[in-house]
Symmetry: C2
Subunit: 425 residues, 2 copies
Amino acid sequence: MTEGGVTSGVAGDVSGGVTGGVVDWRDTGFWEPGEGVGDEEFAAAEHSLFDGPFTWPVLVARRDALEHNIATMAAFARRHGLALAPHGKASMAPALWRRQLDAGAWGITVATANQALVCRKAGVRRVLLANELLDGTALRGLARELDRDPAFAFLFYVDSAAGVEAASRAAGGRPFRVLVELGHAGGRTGCRTAAEAVRLARAAAAAPGVEVAGVAGYEGGLPGADEVTAYLRDLRGLAAEFHAAGVCAGGGPIVVSAGGSAWFDIVARELGGIGFDGREALPLLRSGAYVSHDDGFYRVRTPFNRIPGEGRLEPALEVWAQVLSVPEPGLAIAGLGKRDAPYDEGLPVPRRVRRDGVEWTAEGIALTRMNDHHAYLALMPGTALVPGDLVCFGVSHPCTAFDKRRAIPVVDEDHRVVDVLRTFF
Amino acid sequence: MTEGGVTSGVAGDVSGGVTGGVVDWRDTGFWEPGEGVGDEEFAAAEHSLFDGPFTWPVLVARRDALEHNIATMAAFARRHGLALAPHGKASMAPALWRRQLDAGAWGITVATANQALVCRKAGVRRVLLANELLDGTALRGLARELDRDPAFAFLFYVDSAAGVEAASRAAGGRPFRVLVELGHAGGRTGCRTAAEAVRLARAAAAAPGVEVAGVAGYEGGLPGADEVTAYLRDLRGLAAEFHAAGVCAGGGPIVVSAGGSAWFDIVARELGGIGFDGREALPLLRSGAYVSHDDGFYRVRTPFNRIPGEGRLEPALEVWAQVLSVPEPGLAIAGLGKRDAPYDEGLPVPRRVRRDGVEWTAEGIALTRMNDHHAYLALMPGTALVPGDLVCFGVSHPCTAFDKRRAIPVVDEDHRVVDVLRTFF
């Protein structure tokens, strides 16, 4: 296993098993009643979203925005001495992972064993499972995969003796490499104190079939910049303690992983370019939502709002829906529901209206509520929508947008469909 | 087209195109890293959920509960002189639709054109699209399908002149048969007054390529039994007006459709067995969530709570998740998130704990919050969970449970996996 330095970024060969998709009646948002059309042939036709084989609502991804975001974040990580392991759970789209790896990402982060399996089928070499893993079936399967492919690098978290024991029991010929997770009071998983984490690291280092690769944590649940800064310093201090205690295996870099999509500026400041007294560190940033960004939750929270000189992200996801009914003054009902767009961290945001090929800004329209397949649009006086109009919505929270579709049309700036993005949830 | 009487229930031939599934790495909850196993072969192995090729979390459907619910609702509809067009959007599982049709359902209800297409691929003959449909691409496709298959019966809603015009423009050789939707103030789609509905029915009856088949409405957004009763009487009255005005086409029965899963007792009382002065009626009940029922939203709202002598529904969906961490007293974190279970109409409900093959009731455990892949379990003092424990959760709101998975293991009462349910979202 070549763990590599911060910037080595040996890209995986993301391909096998996840290509060869066919657009057919199974794909929501497409209207393909026939035998189906291969993804590449479909994309080559460059259908217009507005008169091609589509049916409303359609969730689309803007190609230029995706590419811009991937390049922006890769440059940010490089600039700050961070390795990037983008959280792949956001999109679960191997084609995007490939672009992230091609742009220099160290590997791909996931949240579950099933997602790690998708990574392997997609040819991702380095997988960080940013979660505890105690499932014997998955652990044994991943141990076999480690033995099968010497190039497969796999990291996951432990925060309990039970986690270390589960890993030790399932290990194969190559040891499991674990990160000891440091949490915080009121947080999610992770040891609550450094002392507990050091004790656990010693137990892991002593367990057959298990090696300690470093530390990890998640700052996303903390209330503000001061708490995030203090927490990341604790995490860095814990890694130094691990180094001093000699619990980290081998001579490679000590992994120090953090970073959602709300505080990567502080992660860069506190973990960028660090090392430990003669031993290299691998600061691994796990941000994932940046790939599509959004028009709600992350629009407000992205660190680029604090550091505009370093770049900006573009919202890449749009949902186009049709007005089905304008049943009373001030109310329109669109064909857009909980099956089509996220609603857990803010509702979709009306952006544009389109009628007979003419578009205008969706001023005076607010989405107030969704059922499974309907959205309620409150209309300010003077806002005329009629049945048949199209409304383009931005979304809030990419993770619960991507998972609504198996196939997402990728559009250029003229809304020609130039690719089909396959997701694996 | 044979519209059929209330109880004729000619079942569709639900088959083509939706069988031949393969369990592989794409299927979340399964652990199949190899080349994949055909659904039938997989089911024939009767794996135990607890030591078979599964990885947590797993959403399962209980076979006996599904069968019980399908039989219970079929009997209810028959007993009350209602034809049943179960809302297929709840499960989007053609294998369940087939059972519903085999049990006597008149046809399948859907909410979108894409879902109507899945019905056709599944061989469903009678499809009620309980929604306005203004999408030219889908309308033209469905017109072609009507011309291709004389046995295909298709109904959808109109509530505006624009809807009638869109249908008329797209119609093929066989006319579109529409239901004029009656809504109510503060509700969703549908004409707000009977006068408006009659005007629209006359326009539809006069439009080339369009026929009026009857009326439809949705009582699910009304606050209580009195309002539901009054609304259903209005709906019945509207159908009588249509009859008197002679706007309904042909000599077949006049369709009067209503019914979600919260008020079908009142629908039965107000619409069961009705007719209009020498002309037959087809009262079509569209309840869908009953197929799996739930442990939350519908557990509280099912009409069977008011009429226990007529039967009861059983919750058919369970999610099994593993405790990943017990990081501080009173808190456990399970590997169960917004990608795995519904959270829009109540959170998952802990029901049982399983450790080393022994199960007990999940007393003193409450799920308080979910992230994308984590659930926060608040533990009462004395409730000991340890990492590795399994927790079985009931869910609230079937529609946002089924749509989280493409393949759902169907279990018997010993939690042997006896079938694989495929969903098409």
